[in-house]
Symmetry: C2
């Protein structure tokens, strides 16, 4: 889970995930939404890919990115266990 939390530990990367939640996007479409360089966006996309939060499909000369929720579901399960156990103890 380290790669996951490292990837989530950045507001730009969290915003990219929020964008991909709505629809799949190319790196160019993602970069257009930010006031930062394309190499910097590529670096963020790399970290998200390493954490298996996104995947890329080739479309002609572009890569189209989409959100992968499998790893998120594991993190969600772990966080829910923390919160639920604690709340049960307090009842």
């Amino acid at each position: 889970m380290n790669k996951l939390f490292k990837a989530l530990n950045d507001p730009t990367r969290r915003r990219i995930l929020d964008m991909l939640k709505e629809k799949d996007l190319t790196a160019g479409e993602i970069a257009d939404a930010f006031n930062i360089s394309k190499p910097s966006i590529s670096h963020h996309l790399d970290l998200l890919k390493q954490a298996e939060l996104i995947s890329a499909t080739r479309e002609g000369q572009f890569l189209r990115y989409s959100l992968d929720t499998t790893v998120l579901e594991d993190a969600l399960q772990w966080l829910m266990n923390l919160v639920e156990q604690k709340n049960n103890d307090e009842q």
Copy 2:
């Protein structure tokens, strides 16, 4: 949410949270479960406190730590929104 994900981005800190899920513990009780120095445990506890994931209550000469779930619930909500929206799109 940056402090939160930074705090979660470490296996020792995640294990401390799992321990505090079961019951409130002093720094000494937490340190006993790990093969690392007390100053290093203090550093981990500091980062967890900064992220508001844990809080400390003085008990005589000891501090007793407990899990705070408010910030976790916010993160949980954000992660759930990501996963649910995506799953809805695919139906």
